[in-house]
């Protein structure tokens, strides 16, 4: 296999593995802010126990996210040196900004969040939780900016020719707020909220099925449910807006999303299907004219098909782009249904006694994980054959001094390492969940009004509460 394919396999593998973790951090961060905020507001110790429990889950997840994230930053230089030379003038800045403005903030306050419970006042601790949540979103912002510039490059000019050609920045804020960065940031963050809140939902459902930690589980479940419902309902709007940006700036990718080969009015939208780039046919269940309608609010809107572009500019794996895109959309719709049903049952006060629904919710966290991963796969594979859309081809971007053997070795090393890491993480996560929150005062929580002072003053209150 040649170096380009190997380098792409390695990047795909390491980024897919890495991206299991940051969305959990971002989503859990928001939920921890809500829980600790409720603790400060009500003084109810159950929220403190909840915050501490989810912080533990957060910590194990966060450290793997950091460790696997450094790999990504190195990889541009190790495997994509020509890319780095070509766009370093532009692409390096958001990565540096991420370090300066997000990682330092995040890591500094993380120390207080994890280890500072007994060292700072509750208010300062809450501030730390807010800052960690904010820091994780800011890091998401800079990295999505960097990636969006690869999708919709802006504010640059090419200087030099041949091997000396370089992209040079003309306007920093034009690069930061390139045509797709705002909407892609929103879509990514809301996806992360879904993933984080579904982790909370799933673990809480598991506790409720096992009839353990009920006070913590019920409250956590509700918070997760509301956050997830909010996120799931705005996500289609954001996704739609983003698809419009793709339609305008990356028409080839849009055509690949829907397996559209001929330029046409009344272009259909597939619910499920199969596309064959060889015969240039797409089969499946379709909503006629819907794609045209979504793009231009009119069935007469003409949508460009793949054949409007030279074949050398088509993504290499149109089938993969099509399927991953549809899996993402499908899961998004499924989540809305699931959450609406959950909210309805909750409203009817039947949610926590419905074992079937609880079983479904206990496994549901895999859905947003898959949706986030497939969404990114369709975005990245859909950009091919370009590494920077319309500017630099992926095949022209690899490191010239690195051999196939070297890349193969690093793939092997990291494959073994990551498989080991993944199962260790699952093992620890499972253990933390089985151990559960430290709610030895379960009977107190049931009353719902336990204040810190009452807890400290001891037994008298127990009688009072009962």
């Amino acid at each position: 296999m040649d170096v380009e394919i190997l380098a792409r396999i390695q990047f795909a593998f390491t980024i897919i593995f890495h991206y299991i973790f940051p969305p959990f951090s971002i989503g859990l961060g928001l939920i921890m802010v809500i829980m600790e905020g409720l603790y400060l507001k009500t003084g109810n110790v159950v929220y403190e126990v909840m915050t501490k429990f989810w912080t533990k889950i957060f910590a194990a997840n966060f450290s793997i996210g950091v460790a696997t994230g450094i790999v990504m930053e190195f990889e541009f230089g190790t495997n994509w040196a020509t890319y780095s030379r070509y766009v370093g003038d532009i692409f390096g800045s958001p990565l540096a900004a991420e370090g300066i403005f997000a990682f330092f903030l995040e890591s500094g306050f993380l120390a207080i969040l994890l280890f500072g419970w007994n060292r700072v006042s509750p208010r300062i601790h809450f501030l730390a939780t807010v800052m960690v949540a904010l820091g994780s979103m800011m890091s998401g912002f800079w990295i999505v900016v960097a990636n969006s510039w690869m999708q919709t490059p802006a504010a640059y000019e090419i200087v030099g020719t041949g091997d000396q050609a370089r992209a040079v920045i003309t306007d920093f804020w034009g690069m930061v707020f390139n045509p797709s960065s705002g909407i892609r940031f929103a879509h990514t963050i809301v996806g992360a909220w879904l993933q984080g809140s579904f982790l909370v939902i799933s673990v809480s459902a598991y506790f409720l099925l096992k009839k353990r930690h009920k006070s913590v589980a019920k409250r956590s479940f509700k918070i997760g449910l509301y956050v997830a419902l909010f996120a799931a309902l705005i996500q289609p709007i954001l996704g739609h807006e983003q698809a419009n940006v793709v339609a305008e700036y990356q028409p080839v990718k849009l055509a690949a999303f829907e397996g559209l080969y001929e330029t046409t009015k009344e272009a259909p939208l597939y619910v499920v299907g199969y596309t064959d780039p060889e015969s240039e046919q797409t089969y499946g269940i379709q909503v006629p004219g819907m794609l045209s309608f979504l793009i231009g609010f009119s069935f007469d809107q003409e949508v460009q098909g793949l054949k409007a572009f030279p074949k050398e500019d088509w993504p290499g794996q149109i089938g993969l782009v099509f399927q991953t895109y549809h899996i993402m959309v499908g899961i998004g719709m499924l989540l809305i249904g699931l959450l609406l049903l959950g909210a309805f049952l909750n409203f009817k006060k039947q949610l926590f006694s419905n074992d079937i629904m609880l079983k479904v919710f206990a496994w549901s966290v895999v859905l947003p994980v898959i949706a986030n991963q497939t969404g990114w796969i369709s975005a990245e594979v859909g950009r091919q054959p370009w590494i920077v859309y319309g500017m630099l081809r992926t095949s022209d971007a690899i490191s010239k001094s690195v051999t196939g053997g070297e890349v193969f070795t690093s793939i092997l090393l990291f494959f073994v390492l990551y498989v080991f890491l993944f199962f260790t993480w699952l093992y620890i996560l499972n253990k933390e969940i089985k151990h559960g929150p430290d709610d030895t005062d379960e009977t107190y929580f049931e009353s719902g009004y336990l204040k810190r002072a009452e807890k400290l003053s001891g037994l008298d209150n127990k009688e009072k509460d009962e």
């Binding site: 495997n79 390096g92 800045s93 330092f104």
Partner: protein
């Protein structure tokens, strides 16, 4: 002073920050297996618990800054050190997750395994950083296209292995000084013994490495030899025009470095551990300053042809990017310093275990 020089300084400052901060993390990791008993090992690990993550951010930011300001150096160095850097990443990953996972299970086998991975990861990472620096000092086979034309085996030359070992020993000594500040009682007495051993090993390697460097690469002192030695390629006008001033300044740094190294021993004897730690911080900063001044204005020296070397001009981004990034750094640095200082303030004093510890 132009933006290229400023960015050379800023990347240098980030590397100094990383070496001082993560340096003691790695050193603590290298010493970890010497501590006996679960309680002691947890104290050792938790001494860096709240800070290691922030310390590693210095590396990430240095990498980002190098990418943004000197993309060719980033591209050439990272692709040249391909396998060593992947090994480095694996070492850093093991180290990070070992801390997170170690105390989650009570079993002896479980904890011992993570202890070993933590320690080996720390030593290997320090060694590889040193090997990379060593290769930059003696020069690498960089062609006219800025690409590395050598092999992996050439990077594992005796000199680079020497600087690699020197780095391991230096960080270990530094880590011991840090541990002395964070521990008390019996454990502290043990650490003191390690500190003296690490100190003398460090002094030996310090002498050997300095001697070999002066012998095989006298160019490393060209910028501050009062014009006596010739460097690689042309001298930077800044150096050319201020030769005496820079030489005096650099020798002051070298002498301060020497004094700082002596002071480590003196402070250890006086049981003034805070000063011992500050002195090892200072000496690490001095080493990197001298290294940076030694290769300036080059960033990667080509052993094939001096003209192929990557310097702060031919490897840099456009003036516009350097300028924008400079202002971003100006805005960011006060924040970075305030977080760093407040974390060390909040977690000052001896390391104690509580229910939130690793």
């Amino acid at each position: 002073m132009d933006y290229n020089v400023i960015w050379y300084l800023l990347v240098g400052i980030l590397l100094v920050g990383y070496a001082i901060l993560d340096g003691f993390d790695l050193g603590v990791g290298a010493l970890h297996l010497l501590s006996k008993g679960d309680h002691n090992r947890r104290i050792v690990m938790n001494s860096i618990g709240p800070v290691w993550d922030g310390n590693e951010v210095w590396l990430i930011t240095a990498g980002g800054a190098l990418f943004a300001a000197f993309p060719h150096v980033y591209a050439t160095a990272f692709s040249a050190f391909y396998l060593p850097f992947y090994l480095l990443l694996a070492a850093l990953i093991f180290r990070a997750v070992a801390m997170e996972f170690r105390s989650k299970e009570p079993g002896e086998l479980w904890r011992n395994t993570w202890d070993k991975l933590f320690s080996i990861g720390s030593i290997l990472a320090s060694f590889l950083f040193g090997v990379a620096i060593g290769n930059v000092i003696i020069g690498m086979k960089i062609g006219s296209d800025m690409e590395y034309a050598g092999t992996l085996l050439e990077q594992l030359n005796p000199y680079a292995i020497c600087t690699g070992l020197f780095t391991v020993v230096m960080f270990t000594m530094h880590g011991a000084n840090y541990l002395l500040v964070k521990t008390e009682g019996e454990l502290q007495k043990q650490v003191e013994k390690w500190a003296f051993k690490a100190y003398w090993t460090f002094v030996i390697f310090y002498a050997i490495t300095t001697a070999i460097t002066l012998m095989i690469r006298p160019e490393m002192v060209a910028n501050f030899s009062f014009g006596y030695f010739e460097g690689v390629g042309e001298k930077h006008p800044l150096v050319e025009n201020n030769e005496v001033l820079i030489s005096i300044w650099a020798w002051t740094v070298a002498i301060l470095n020497f004094l700082a190294v002596l002071n480590i021993h003196r402070s250890l004897k006086l049981k003034n551990y805070g000063w011992a730690f500050l002195s090892s911080c200072l000496s690490i900063a001095a080493f990197i300053t001298l290294f940076a001044l030694g290769i300036f204005p080059n960033m990667m020296v080509s052993s094939l042809e001096p003209a192929y070397s990557l310097d702060i001009y031919n490897a840099a981004s456009s003036q516009k990017t350097l300028k924008i990034m400079f202002y971003l750094a100006l805005v960011g640095i006060p924040f970075v310093l305030s977080y760093t200082i407040s974390i060390y303030w909040v977690f000052r004093g001896k390391t104690k275990l509580d229910e939130h510890s690793y």
